[in-house]
Amino acid sequence: MNEIVLEIDSLSKRYGQIQAVENLSLNISRGTVCGILGPNGSGKTTSLSMLLGIVRPDSGSYSWFGGRMNGAKARKRIGALLETPNFYPWMNAEENLRILSHIKGVNPSLQDELLDIVGLADRKHSPFNTYSLGMKQRLALAGALVGDPDVLILDEPANGLDPQGISEVRSVVRQIAALGKTIIMASHILDEVEKVCTHVAILKKGVLLAYGSTGSILDNCLECEASCDDPDRLFAVFSELSFIKNLRQNGQGVVLFEIPVGQDPASLNQLAFSKGLILRQLHCKRRSLEAEFLKITN
């Protein structure tokens, strides 16, 4: 688990006036399922493109598999779906996967199994240009799995998929993660990332704002709300507690605040009662990744 699969050191890329990625440094261990989050234009795809050798970084470096292999050799051990599915439109699914197998130097006879996994076995003889966007995305996922890669890079894997397809992608990602493979996944669907990823990296305007285990990013505080007959007095009581952060009122008689994980909310109820305040509600919940993402990126 602790073996570093990907080491990124101060990677930067500029397109004209736009700094697409700035000094990105990151280590990803084997078996990690890393979600890369960021608004549009935050540098997610550029970062992944540099790691896959199709975009030249202006500065910085990266190494795969502890530097044991790099360049094309390393990429043969990586499966990737980057942006749009890229296949030869005049070929069918089988012929397209055959080319990927040829490049990776693996037996193409395993293709049928992959097409089965992504639900394209029935259409394997249809030309790629007759596929719907969802089918193209499924084929791209099958393509990324050719050669049983050690690392899977997925850029918006649920793009264009129907709810069933999204659920299937999630299931495939979980199956692969369960095998101990490393997965790096850029996605806009935060719920998806929260459900699947062990680690999260948050980018904005090419800068890495946060990186850590999903738990560490989500679990460092609880969001709470409390109400009683005298919210102003409750506000005053809570404002004396140093561990309470971001204390405010919403204007409808509800006091909002954050407490560290580990702080028992029952103690707040007890304190309020001792001050003669009877709480009508006290509700604490872990902050969602979406809330954390919005907080970090704004």
């Binding site: 493109s49 896959l52 050798g53 199709i54 975009v55 030249r56 360049g71 094309a72 050799k73 990429r75 043969k76 990586i78 990737a80 980057l82 749009t84 890229n86 296949f87 030869y88 439109p89 005049w90 070929m91 012929e95 055959r98 080319i99 990927l100 040829h102 490049i103 990776k104 393509g143 050719v146």
Partner: protein, 275 residues
Amino acid sequence: MVGRLVWLLKLEWLKFKNLRVFRALAIAYTLLLMAGLLVFKAMPELPGETFLQDLFAFPVIWKWLGYGGNWLSFFCLGFMGILSVTTEFTNRTARQNLITGLSRDDFLKSKVLFLLAVAMAATVVYVLVGFAYGLLHSKLLSAALIFGSAGPWVIGRYFLMCLGYLTLGLSAGFLFRKSGLTIFAYIIYVSFGELFIRWVIHLKVLGGGRSMVYYPANALGYIMPVPIGMDELAVMTRESGIDFIMRPTEAAVTVIVYTVLMIGGSWLLVRKRDF
């Protein structure tokens, strides 16, 4: 080493064997090379003009077939060279090839190998059609007569011409990446652009002399030139001060140099640019 080359060649074969436009260009090249000269059969002979009589016989057939092949190579092989690259960028399969594990160098090598194979195949067609016409129309046969004074080198020149057009298309493809734009630029350059550069910029503006002949499309034109009137034209041009006619061997050497330069330029583009 050989196994790796075969592996790269097979990769290109897997990609393009079923591409309709490639098939159409290959078929058009073969059929037109086979049938194109038959147009002359339908022509009436002009008084005093005898070239139509032995047009299909050895060794003249190589020149006429080579001249016809020059036009076909400009279109069919040039377009194949272009499409072998631009289809990869238009469909973004070039980047997918790299992502999957192909190196940038191998990407270019596979293209060059594929074009070498196409040039060889095109030359084989030329040789087979030439022999077929020659054997059917020559009264006397001898080894010396088959290729005439030029010898079998004419086949080598034909191969270089095919490779030259393919490489010109390939390098234009790497430069422009988009099929329509590249085909437009290729046709404009070969048809008018280079003439303008040679006669206006090189000769008039820069005051260059005979060096204005050493341009790729010009050399490709003279490597398999029009079979009649070249000697007379050469004398006339020499008398006028500038000898702008290239001899076939001179053209062949120029084509070799440009082929190497164009592959080198493509290599730089593949190495430096993002995919």
